[in-house]
């Protein structure tokens, strides 16, 4: 096989893969702004009325998802940043085990975690019926990303020397954490924060099991609309989701690359 044939095959496979991913997404976006999908966009025309209807029917799920994502960010930051700092200070066997353990939600399917949470806390009605129940699930799932993202940055900088210098000048443990560790970890915190928010907004597996009719999130509302609404409304709702998630994802990938390039010559 010549180099030219090899190039042609590789190029064709790449383009086909792009088409496979892009075409259904484009279909969905078009369907969301088409007056009547079965007549086609050219015959029936373009409209924003479906997006308007989505807003009337489902705006509560959008606000709730944003609220839960924000809450998730705050809680994962409060739990995850100090934990990453501690894990970096004691890089021993015990730390490895702790890290492995809190990372379990990455490798256990959300369905299994949700069943576990439901069986232990499902009978505590005040908790079960509130959005806190979903928030706990989201924190469980996103926390490992915050911890790893911050830990990855800590492990590339010589935090120990910086802290020793500060300690010799009389800085307390808290001051060293606040004034040295936190500012240095900022790229990792940013990357972790964007990952947490992106994943929280898109989370379905856990949320579907944990939600109640009064605590629907955006992806739960989407599943609901796919089952019961006309195709144009389901598509318009998906369009709203794309508009939220794609910029977040782009920011997340940018911040992750930036955090990973720390300590390397650019």
């Amino acid at each position: 096989m010549s180099r030219r044939t090899a190039f042609a095959i590789q190029f064709a496979v790449t383009l086909l893969a792009c088409a496979f991913l892009l075409v259904p997404a484009i279909l969905s976006i078009l369907a969301g702004v088409t007056v009547n999908y079965f007549q086609g966009i050219l015959a029936s025309g373009v409209t924003l009325k479906w997006v308007g209807q989505v807003w009337e029917l489902y705006s509560d799920t959008i606000w709730r998802s944003m609220g839960i994502a924000f809450g998730c960010l705050i809680i994962t930051a409060i739990i995850g940043i100090p934990a990453a700092y501690g894990l970096n200070r004691f890089p021993g066997r015990l730390s490895r085990i702790v890290e492995e353990f809190v990372s379990l939600p990455l490798s256990i399917p959300g369905l299994a975690l949700a069943l576990a949470l439901l069986q232990l806390y499902g009978t505590i009605k005040g908790f079960r019926l509130s959005f806190w129940f979903i928030l706990v699930g989201h924190v469980l799932y996103t926390l490992p990303f915050m911890i790893r993202s911050v830990l990855a940055v800590f492990s590339t900088i010589d935090l120990q020397s910086l802290e020793e210098g500060a300690a010799s000048l009389g800085a307390s443990s808290w001051q060293r954490f606040k004034d040295i560790a936190l500012p240095n970890a900022w790229p990792g915190i940013l990357a972790g924060a964007l990952t947490v928010v992106t994943l929280s907004i898109g989370e379905f597996n856990l949320t579907w099991m944990l939600h109640t009719p009064l605590t629907k999130t955006l992806p739960v509302g989407l599943a609901d609309s796919y089952a019961s609404m006309r195709l144009e409304i389901a598509s318009a709702y998906t369009l709203v989701f794309f508009v939220m998630i794609v910029p977040l994802l782009a920011a997340m990938l940018w911040a992750s690359n930036r955090a990973q390039s720390i300590g390397k010559p650019s």
Partner: protein, 267 residues
């Protein structure tokens, strides 16, 4: 003392919402009248074993297809610089954060009754092609969310490979396929195995896509869901969850031991 305080929030949260619920899940699985024998019942029940087999087969097929396609694209995008390259990379990674339900819907738009493929085939060839509501639809759905994950892992490794090795092999007269087989692929091996394991484990545990496509696709997560919600068979749903969790966890541990990376097992 201060460092202990740093761990405190993590310890409280993980104990209350991870350790205890998991213990409860295992104890609920053996809480029925059969006790631990419930795990023997799974093995002897043809329906559960069939669904386990189907889940493994569809996950395996997706893994092989995703690794082949994404590796080809990753190598192409790593080795060639051209205008529009970043657009191609963006369009191969944007579905990364899509939940399984959305991907199920996209597959219906592609291969459903009113889908693009059926519209084209009915109009031009006068034959109906509907594949969304079956294992084939599930295969394409899982492929949809596996390609971006595998691509990112393989590209990250491919960019670190020393281009001088490929040049050396070429200057010694190796054909493109020989270079691929003897130089590039061995260098990529850890990334290929790791991303393959991630794709496989994600497909094994995915729920949203099957949920959107059809309720009669009997992959393991769907069986767990119906056991829990429709049959209210809590012990069996818990036992199957424990089994599924152990399989995906073991696979991802294996994958991480090879590369030290992990990408979310969402969907």
């Amino acid at each position: 003392m201060f460092v202990f305080l740093c761990f405190l929030p993590l310890l409280i949260f993980s104990l209350a919402f991870l350790a205890l619920p998991l213990v409860r899940l295992v104890s609920a699985s053996v809480g029925g009248e059969q006790g631990w024998l419930i795990y023997a019942e799974i093995v002897s029940n043809p329906r559960y074993m069939q669904s386990l087999l189907d889940t493994v087969l569809v996950s395996l097929a997706v893994t092989i297809a995703a690794v082949l396609i994404a590796t080809t694209a990753a190598l192409f995008l790593t080795h060639n610089r051209f205008p529009g390259r970043s657009v191609l990379i963006a369009s191969l990674t944007f579905p990364l954060a899509f939940p399984g339900v959305v991907i199920g819907f996209l597959i219906i738009l592609l291969g459903g009754r009113q889908g693009l493929v059926n519209t084209i085939s009915s109009n031009i060839f006068d034959t109906r092609i509907v594949f969304a509501y079956s294992m084939i639809g599930l295969f394409f759905g899982y492929l949809y969310f596996s390609i971006p994950r595998v691509l990112l892992t393989v590209m990250a490794t491919a960019e670190k490979l020393d281009p001088a090795l490929v040049e050396a092999a070429r200057s010694l007269g190796a054909a493109p396929l020989q270079v691929l087989r003897d130089v590039t692929l061995p260098g990529l091996a850890p990334a290929l195995i790791a991303s393959g394991a991630i794709a496989f484990a994600t497909a094994m545990g995915a729920f949203g896509t099957a949920f959107t496509l059809a309720t009669n696709i009997d992959v393991l997560p769907m069986v767990i869901y119906t056991e829990f919600t429709l049959s209210a068979n809590i012990a069996m749903a818990s036992a199957l969850s424990v089994l599924l969790g152990l399989v995906t966890w073991a696979l991802l541990m294996f994958a991480r031991s090879l590369t030290g990376t992990s990408i979310a097992a969402s969907g």
